[in-house]
Amino acid sequence: MDLLKIGGKEISSRLFLGTGKFASDSVIPDVIRASQAEVVTVALRRVDFDDPQENMLQYINKECILMPNTSGARTAEEAVKIARIARAAGCGNWVKIEVIRDNKYLLPDNYETLKATEILAAEGFAVFPYMSPDLMVARQMRDAGAAAVMPLGSPIGSNRGLKTREMVRILIDEIDLPIIVDAGIGKPSEAAEAMEMGAAAVLVNTAIAVAGDPAAMAGAFSLAVKAGRQGFLAGLGEARPYAEASSPLTGFLRDRD
């Protein structure tokens, strides 16, 4: 069976789910079911531990692996504090680091993210840093003890697809950690594309949350991720940038005798 070994666990679904932006948190159970996701990320800033009725964690199936995220953190220090609060509140030891100092494009700060990754990995967290796809920083994330690397496909919420395709491809080729494409994936076909390239998983939120029928869209993403993964495992033929010459250009080397 094609299991993804990650953060000390083995999981079969390669679609990770985000829980922001939904018209109602009460649709989340249906979305999780339809997506077959096993990993669900939640912004800790949205969780109200003091109000059991409002606590959105109630909508997340206990069998799912919870991956709290540090949305709202502007520095490594803030991300570290949020991660510690999450763990102390019983949210497990997985954490997705989001450090964003740019509210216009919501692009991550790789430097602060790296600092937070170093600190939290040393504290025993399974750290999933969300980052701009940069090979040098990804290597440093790996060396710092990250459980995976989560490069963005395009800016959060933009639904623009895999605009960073070539940079993500380099990470997939060079970094021996699971590469999870996070942010920007707007359509199931784009999720399939990331999986065909060899991404270990994709994380989808906006495209499902704001769809006309979120659960149906979650199902579509689930199929797309499986299809893309199967395509990758089957060994895709190389796409050829030029037509094959019908008479080989080097045929004369064989014809010399």
Binding site: G20, K21, A23, R46, D51, E54, Y105, S158, N159
Partner: protein, 367 residues
């Protein structure tokens, strides 16, 4: 350079003839662009834009859902003090008005805070008049520390401060600032602010920037609509938001469009802003600044507020009261202005839900 230096250059331009010259076709071209220039933004505010509200609304709706989801953040105001040394023509707290002046004790602040938390709200906006003697920074800091025990987010809407004072309040637990310039036109500003420290136009105008510099997490700007031609005011407001967004990307910038409401003193607005015009400015700002937050308060009618949800609004007040200690058994006589939407928090939440959106009570945490 501060915002005033940039804005001063705009003041010399003849906006009226530019606005009159824009055609619906030009507005349509701007709507279809991915990036909107400042001139494009101004064109969206033109009379021609009024004829293009539906296509503007479609674009604004799409941008809002993409950037913010189907979510409305709820907050509520708490008035700490109505002591004020200013004579502002339009305001119920005007120093010349006779009203019961009061500043809450820390105990009363806690009591009112406790009442509010029962509604589930976790974001609060505390307000004062401008009276550093009755409500000094130190007092506001104490209130904030107390409220921080009950709320995830505490914002302030108080008199403008110096950078180090903003830092003091941030350390006390403030994470948001709301500060309306009231009117960006300096001449009108001088006329309606008759007396008091608020007469200092540039000190107020540059205050949001000082808050950004101090590390404030969110800053909310606004112009009080009714004091000047709204197109000019909203243009200035948009430029101000864009300026801060570019210069302080760490701070979340949002804007409000408060229309003048009846208040003690009986001030008559110079211009009346219609519902159609308010819609037009919300759409124009959303298209110009897709990531900016847009707040609508209970100044607006319930049915109208409900219709604005799909057009670009991201934050709304609920269960509001504009009187000091209003939730502790006040009589509603000494309010800053009359509210139009008096629905309770549960009513607001269920309405928002019926409209296909989620009302979010908590979206920050104490770290």
């Amino acid at each position: 350079m501060e915002f005033y230096d940039l804005y001063r250059k705009q003041l010399g331009h003849d906006l009226d003839s530019f606005l009159a010259g824009i055609t619906p076709g030009e507005v349509s071209d701007i709507i279809n662009k991915n990036r909107i220039t400042e001139t494009g933004f101004l064109a969206l505010l033109s009379p021609a834009g009024q004829k293009m509200l539906e296509p503007m609304a479609r674009k604004a709706h799409g941008l809002t859902v993409k950037n913010f989801g189907k979510v409305i953040q709820l907050y509520t105001p708490m008035y700490l003090s109505n002591h004020c040394t200013n004579e502002c023509a339009y305001c119920g707290f005007n120093v010349r008005n006779t009203l019961g002046r009061r500043t809450l004790t820390i105990g009363e602040v806690e009591e009112e805070g406790r009442i509010i938390t029962k509604t589930g709200l976790r974001h609060i906006l505390v307000l004062t008049g401008e009276s550093p003697r009755n409500a000094p920074v130190e007092y506001i800091g104490k209130c904030v520390r107390k409220l921080r025990q009950y709320f995830s987010s505490v914002s302030i809407e108080i008199y403008p401060l110096h950078t180090d004072e903003y830092k003091t309040l941030i350390e006390a637990g403030v994470d948001g600032l709301t500060l309306y310039q009231e009117v960006y036109d300096p001449e009108i500003y001088d006329i309606v602010h008759i007396r008091g420290p608020k007469k200092d136009y540039t000190f107020r105008l540059n205050a949001p920037e000082r808050a950004c510099r101090a590390g404030m997490r969110t800053v909310n700007l606004g112009a009080l609509l009714g004091l000047n031609d709204w197109q000019k005011e909203v243009f200035a407001l948009g430029l101000h938001a864009r300026y801060l967004q570019d210069k302080y990307p760490e701070t979340e910038i949002s804007v409000s469009f408060p229309r003048i409401r009846p208040a003690q003193g009986g001030f008559q607005p110079k211009v009346t802003v219609s519902d159609e015009e308010l819609v037009q400015m919300i759409l124009a700002v959303r298209i110009f600044l897709p990531r900016v937050g847009i707040t609508v308060s209970t100044r607006e009618r319930a049915d109208f507020r409900d219709n604005l949800i799909r057009l670009g609004v991201t934050k709304m007040s609920a269960g509001s009261c504009t009187e000091v200690g209003g939730r502790l058994g006040g009589e509603g006589r000494d309010s800053q202005f009359e509210i139009s939407d008096s629905r309770s928090v549960p009513e607001m939440r269920s309405t928002i839900q019926k409209l296909g959106y989620q009302a979010v009570c908590k979206d920050w945490l104490t770290i």
